[in-house]
């Protein structure tokens, strides 16, 4: 775990030296399971800053909500760093206006898995590298970290920030990049019928609250296609057609832009699995175009870089 005091000191330095107007990080929430994203504007505020593996959100989602020219400091993990890069590529934020405090990430703990494991009324969560100690109403539990990791974090292959201005803590070993591919291949091994049944089951639980959209750093359109009135692209209610179209198109709009952070899935109030959709698209981008989102802040995603060389790919 990175030293929280070092993070705080760095955040304080940024603010007191006037290098940034605001530092984006987390503060302790009302309950131990839910730390809140917070905006620190003065060095004194920074005392509230916390860093834990329970920080569920991708902070990059707030970047497009702040004024474009504002100077922002951010505590970033691997996926958040890649999202920032993707936003910089899409010219949503200038890299010069950003100061990234990088933290190697050991994976995000899924609060739902914790509750499922230890029961209601979690009083405290203490983590070490391998294990997590949880106190709930029914007593103390020592659980292996792996068991509580969020699904997308288990497949993560870039836990280290790729372009942070300062890295706090020792970089972790890059993990096996095949895990994501295996997950996609495992799903594709199912028959068409089974796959559709799975998709239906997941998509049709949707209540269309758009938490996935709002939690995603790359969903920054001023007007989403589902809010469009003329023409109306999909059925707007919680009908099968509307729900399926939402999940298909939301995911497809992320092609070459998704960093597999899993924030959409963690935000969903109905526990809908969504990363199996974006993982497939990421997998294809890697196989077909050798592209991974956000590894640098220059390379454009495949759908934005069409060349006539492509014709050789498609000639039948």
């Amino acid at each position: 775990m990175p030293d929280i005091e070092v993070i705080k000191a760095e955040a304080k330095r940024l603010l007191s030296e006037g290098m940034v107007e605001v530092v984006l990080a987390f503060k302790a929430g009302e309950t131990p399971l839910h730390p809140q994203p917070a905006f620190f504007r003065t060095p004194d505020d920074v005392d509230e800053l916390v860093y834990s593996s329970l920080n569920q959100n991708n902070l990059a989602t707030y970047l497009t909500r702040l004024p474009k020219e504002s100077k922002v400091g951010m505590v970033v993990r691997g996926c958040e760093n890649r999202s920032v890069n993707a936003l910089v590529v899409e010219k949503q934020k200038s890299r010069d206006n950003l100061y990234l405090i990088g933290v190697p990430c050991e994976g995000i703990l899924d609060w739902r898995k914790i509750v499922a494991k230890v029961g209601e009324a979690v009083k405290s969560v203490n983590e070490s590298e391998q294990e997590v100690m949880v106190e709930s109403r029914s007593g103390y539990y020592l659980v292996e970290r792996k068991e509580l990791l969020h699904d997308s974090c288990m497949r993560c292959s870039h836990p280290n920030p790729v372009s942070a201005d300062i890295l706090i803590g020792e970089p972790l070993a890059e993990s096996d990049s095949n895990l994501a591919r295996e997950a996609v291949e495992e799903f594709e091994a199912l028959s068409v019928k089974e796959r559709y049944a799975w998709f239906r089951k997941e998509a049709e639980r949707c209540i269309r609250c758009y938490a996935c959209r709002e939690a995603c750093p790359m969903c920054y359109c001023t007007e989403c296609f589902v809010d469009h009135i003329e023409p109306r692209w999909t059925e707007s209610g919680a009908t099968p057609a509307g729900m399926q179209a939402w999940h298909i198109v939301r995911a497809f709009h992320q092609t070459g832009r998704c960093t597999s952070c899993g924030a959409c899935e963690r935000a969903c109030p109905m526990d809908i699995k969504m990363t199996y959709l974006t993982e497939k698209l990421n997998h294809d981008m890697k196989e077909k175009y050798n592209f991974e989102t956000g590894l640098d802040a220059q390379t454009k995603p495949p759908f934005a870089t069409v060349t006539l060389d492509d014709k050789n790919r498609f000639m039948v």
Binding site: G29, E30, C209, G237, A238, T239, M270
Partner: protein, 340 residues
């Protein structure tokens, strides 16, 4: 009337009801519980002190519901919904209270919503009191409670091997026909359980003068502070048992006019055709959500429009907590002048 219902007898009872009613009760759906009609076999009564993920308001105000059908030559027809008599079993008192609050909106004297009315009239609600406190609830704080009896047909109190059934309507009495009457001692015992459950609920914030404080600080920067990390999704409102806003949309292909749940946290909610938006940012929208529950409901029907079920607290993707927001509101300045 008070009856005793042995826990063993419950599955059979539910099946008996199925002869005449659609029986809705919380059942496991994937990783959470959801009100679903009871099938011929397999009974799951969710006994944890836990709410379903989607509040039972969805049984009365479905997520999507047809209001009007378009006829071929530009005409309109009333939509018809086949609604069978139903029993909603094991809903929690907070959710039942919420349905009563929604009645004040949907069953106004002049404009009574026909679809809501029909569903309400054909439903018998049998609540299951919460003998153990739930995790994020704060029902006693807002003036309700784990055994709040408002607007119920019957209420169950868990007493170990059996339930004490208190019925408040004739319809419910016939449902429990043939069960043994509860003795005085059992009723006293139940009262103790109920009182203990009530006392166990923590007080999350003070409600005294809260209305005046929120009202008078309408343009305070308090709202900027509490809405800062809000994402603007609809989780808190869609999962709220008392949120009832809906949108009316024409589904051209289906030739229907439908109503869908809508949320005051969405940008398009109050966006006008001219491009003007009275609530342009998350600050105003958060203010609307909180003020509606803690100011406007009080003005309208003199009840707090939040029943303390705790869903918005639990499922907010960024951990925003209405309890802490209101606790912060308690330190706002206010004048007592017109609080008479």
């Amino acid at each position: 009337m008070n009856f005793i219902l042995e826990k063993q007898a419950l599955p059979d009872l539910l099946q008996t009801w199925r002869a005449n009613f659609d029986v809705y009760l919380p059942q496991n759906l994937e990783r959470f519980t959801h009100f679903m009609p009871l099938a011929a076999e397999g009974v799951t009564v969710i006994n944890e002190p836990h709410n379903t993920r989607i509040p039972p308001k969805a049984l009365f105000l479905p997520m999507t519901e047809t209001l009007v059908k378009f006829t071929r030559f530009g005409g309109y027809e009333n939509a018809k919904h086949e609604i069978e008599p139903r029993i909603v079993f094991a809903l929690r008192p907070c959710d039942a209270q919420a349905v009563q609050l929604l009645d004040t909106s949907f069953l106004q004297v002049k404009y009574s919503d026909p679809f809501w009315l029909e569903r309400r009239e054909k439903t018998i609600t049998v609540a299951l009191g919460c003998h153990e406190p739930c995790d994020n609830g704060f029902c006693t704080t807002v003036g309700y409670g784990p055994f709040n009896k408002a607007d119920l047909d019957a209420m169950l109190t868990d007493l170990g091997d059996f339930y004490l059934v208190e019925t408040f309507s004739e319809a419910a009495e016939t449902c429990f026909n043939g069960f043994a009457n509860a003795s005085e001692t059992i009723c006293v015992q139940a009262l103790e359980v109920q009182q203990r459950a009530h006392d166990q609920m923590p007080v999350a914030f003070e409600t005294e003068n809260l209305k005046e404080k929120l009202e008078q600080n309408f343009s305070s920067n308090y709202w900027d502070k509490v809405s800062l990390s809000c994402l603007g999704c609809g989780v808190c409102t869609f999962l709220c048992p008392t949120c009832f806003c809906f949108d009316i949309v024409d589904e051209t292909q289906r030739r229907e006019r439908v109503r869908n749940w809508d949320s005051c946290m969405f940008r398009t909610y109050s966006l006008e055709a001219s491009g003007h938006n009275p609530r342009p940012s998350r600050v105003e929208r958060t203010r609307q959500r909180l003020s509606h529950k803690y100011v406007y409901w009080l003005d309208q029907v003199n009840q707090i429009g939040c029943t303390g079920c705790g869903r918005c607290v639990r499922y907010c993707p960024v951990g925003l907590d209405i309890r802490s927001m209101l606790r912060q509101a308690q330190s706002l300045p206010f004048e007592v002048s017109h609080a008479s």
